[in-house]
Each structure stands twice: as C-alpha cells, then as structure tokens.
Amino acid sequence: MKKMINRVEAIVDEALDGMALAFPAYVRRVPGTHVLTRATPKRSGRVGLVSGGGSGHEPAHGGYVGYGMLDAAVAGEVFTSPTPDQVLEGIRAANSGAGVLLVIKNYTGDVMNFDIARELAESEGIMVDSVTVNDDVAVEDSLYTTGRRGIAGTVYVHKIAGSLAERGASLSEVKAVAELVISRTRSMGFALTPCTVPANGSPTFTLEENELEMGIGIHGEPGIRRESVRPADDLARFILDRLSQDLELKGPTRLAALVNSMGGTPMLELAILARTVAHWCDDAGHDLRRMWVGEYMTSLEMQGASLTLLHVDERLEDLLDAPADTPAFRQGVSHD
C-alpha cells in the first residue's frame, strides 16, 4: 500500500484539519470532533442539513458543506459509519432552531448510528428528521433485506434539499423534497480497479486485466457481478437502460445526469462517458437538462465510475440550478 499520508491512524483527523485549513472561508472543524460545519452559519431559523458517513468518499461529505448545501458533515473512519456522539455534534452545529434533517445513505451502520444520534438529539429538545437515500439499482430492493444502498445520487439530495432549506422552507417541506428526489434518483456503478482501505493495507478484491466489477457500492466491496471489460459506450448504455427501467420512464422525460468518478478515473475518461449519456438521452428523446461530471462520491483511489439519473420537473430543476458555494461544488457565479 502506497499512500500520501503520515500515519494510518491519523488520516481522518489530519484530512479534516486539512479541509478546514484549505477552505477557511467555507468550513471550520468543530473542535475535538469529526464534524465540519459552515464557517459562516446560515441565517438562524432555517432548517439545518446534516450528512456524513465513513471517510474515503471525498469530496463527500465535508466538501459539500456551505451555502446551498449542507450545514454540517460528520466523518467516520475510512468506510466506517461515524459514531452517534459525532453525529450528535453535527446535529447540534447545524441546528438553529428550525430543526435538522439528516441525509443518510442506506447502510445498516449509517442508519443505526444516525438513528441513535437522532434519539440523543431529540432528548436534548432538537427537532430532527431524516431521509435515507437508496439510489443504487444494482441491489434488489426488498422489505426483507437491508434494501438498496445509497451512492452518488445522495449529492442530488444535498443540493436540492439544501437549496430549499436555504430559501427558508420548513423541516417537513425540506424532508418532503428530499424524499421526492430520492424517489426519482437511480444510480449504478462499476470498478476497473479495487481500492485499498488504509487500515487493511491490501485491496478488497482483485481484478484481472480484462475484468471489471459491475454494481459496486462505495466501500470497496465487490459488486454484484464480475464482467469482461467492454467499451465505455456499452457500459454506459447498459447502466442507463437499467436506471431508466427502474425509474419506469415511459416516454421522453426531463432528466439530470451525474457522471461520477470512483476516485481514480480521470476526467478524460469521464468526458467519454458523458458523451454517451448525452447521446443515449438524445436517442430516447429525453430532455437532458443538466449534467454534472467529476468526482462527487468516491471510493478512495478506485478506478471506475457511476451514473445517476434524476427525473426532474420544473421545481426540482430550479432547486438543482440554484446557487451553491462549497469547497467542492459551486455554481451561480454572476458575470459582469
């Protein structure tokens, strides 16, 4: 294992300090915690948004703390849910009286730790509600299992719920829009290479030169199937068909798309995927309103990508395009 670090045990701590030192105009670290919160809190009386999870998904989630998105992000160890006491610190930091919405990615550990934190916060008199993102169509949805995972589509929830919260909506309104986004978001990803969790020191799986893992999560875990490498176009179209089936898109639809790098795949290759996404939309008559391309929800240095489709309407599109200003996501610069 070769990584640009000092000590394995200090990675998360030092990276959190690094974020606060690199982006002091955006975020500060709540002293003694694994929480990044806004350098300038949002106007008091607005709903706070808290998300988080294991580290290793950067820029998620600390990179999304700021105007129009999150109020606090809670980081666990690499690929390990944060603990309830830390989530509680995040809730406290984000609360300014109008309540706090937790955006949880659907993993047993995250859900349970955030739930416990929510109980603790409620016992302190803070109004808390939560939504659970489960956009990953690779996994069968079922009441009798853990259900689907939350992956890159989570960033759409941050963005849209964040902008609605910024506009002064109530906790139940912000929760409702978050749930609407979740119901209209689907994702699926694949890996060309595995990643190495620093505490382990070796890759979580191995792939031959001509193999890829289809349907991976974002924790270096194996996917649902091992496949032969195929052209980027095929991969993208296969995934997009799956997403559109699962979204039950009947005819031409207004869409937003996210082409997300798993961390190690360069922009040059993402752009090739982005091209196919646009062509696929054209072919199906969909109206592709907005595309994001880059590193949004990663798995350390893993090479690979995920695609996300969000079925937008006028209101969601307006919120998606509203200004945001965070370390990792910015839009709405006015030109003179």
Binding site: V78, T80, T83, T108, G109, N113, T146
Partner: protein, 198 residues
C-alpha cells in the same frame, strides 16, 4: 459474576479480537468492507484503556457500551454499543450479579440488537450466534456448551445468503463465506466462558 470478572471479560475479548483481527478483516473483505476486525479492535482497545471499575455493574456495563458506541463505528458499533447500554438497565447498581439477572440483562441486550438491526436467525449476521446462545442458556444449557456451540453457529453462517448488513448487497455471492460479526460474537462467548468458568 463480579464487576472484576466483567471487566476481565472485555480484556480477554479484546485480546481475542486483536489475535483474530486479520481474519475478521478478511472475512469482512469477502462479503463486506474489510473493517470489522479493525473496528472492533479499535473500540475494545479504548474500552480496555479507559473503562475503570465503578463498584457497579450497571455503571461499568453502561460505560463499556458508551465507549463502544463512540469508538467502534459501523454496524457493529451501533449494535454492540446500544445493546450494552440497554442491558445495563437490567443490571443491579452493585458489584456483583447472579446468573438469573445476568441472563435477563443478556436478553435485554439481544432484544435491543434485534430491534435496532431488524435481523433474525438465518439473516447471516451476528444474530445467528446471539439468539441461539441466549436461548440455549435460558433453557439451562451450560456456558461451556454454549461457548463451544458458538463457533459452530458462527461457522454455519457460511452456507447462508445474507439478508441484513452490508453482505446482503452481494445476494447469493455472499454464500460460502463466514459472517465476520458472528465470528467475533463467538469470540465473546469464549472469553465469557474463560472468565466465568462453568
């Protein structure tokens, strides 16, 4: 069981987890994210370092629970932590506890795990060890028997398809691997037997 034995239990459990850290990580790498040994090792190390006798089993059980809750992380941290915090409520504010009360606390803790994690026997989680173990004890089996059986129950998760936890995402690909949380739970039962004897 005395408070000293209770705290010794966590020392021994910690030792066993550290000795098996690689194995636990590797089992988790096969069907999860490879951190179960690291998570448990980190949290138990902090328990061993930070939790001192308080003259009350209720207090020390709660202290162990809170410590695990804030240091393990992941699914196992939430489950172990909240189970112990919950179990502590069934323990006396005294330095010793009889078998009956200990069993009640165990039941309370396992109930909390079940409520929090929504997993049952057959879902390929640590519940595949916890539930048969407390049932066996309740029906009068010896701790020795249970400690020996615990390994078998853990091993038997190998043939199951996971329905809860991270391994569930693998569907049928999870078959053929032992569940890491079941193995660490079996280690806990072995540590308990070593501390309490029969």
């Amino acid at each position: 069981m005395t408070e000293a034995a209770f705290l010794d239990l966590w020392h021994r459990f910690h030792e066993k987890v550290v000795a098996n850290q690689e194995v636990l990580n590797q089992l988790d790498a096969a069907i999860g994210d490879g951190d179960h040994g690291t998570n448990m090792g980190r949290g138990l190390g902090r328990v061993v370092a930070d939790v001192n006798p308080a003259g009350s089993l209720r207090s020390s059980c709660r202290a162990v629970g809170m410590k695990l809750l804030s240091t393990v992380g992941g699914a196992s941290g939430a489950l172990w932590g909240s189970a112990l915090v919950s179990a502590s409520g069934a323990l006396p504010d005294a330095p010793e506890v009889n078998r009956e009360m200990a069993l009640a606390a165990l039941n309370q803790g396992v109930g909390q795990m079940k409520a929090r994690g929504k997993a049952d026997v057959g879902d390929k989680t640590m519940m595949d060890v916890w539930i048969p173990a407390v049932n066996a004890l309740a029906s009068g089996r010896s701790l020795r028997e249970v400690a020996v059986q615990a390994r078998t129950w853990a091993d038997s998760t190998q043939s199951l398809e996971a329905r809860r936890g991270r391994a569930a995402y693998l569907g049928s690909r999870s078959i053929g691997h032992v569940d890491p949380g079941s193995l660490s739970t079996a280690l806990w039962w072995e540590a308990l037997f070593e501390v309490v004897g029969s």
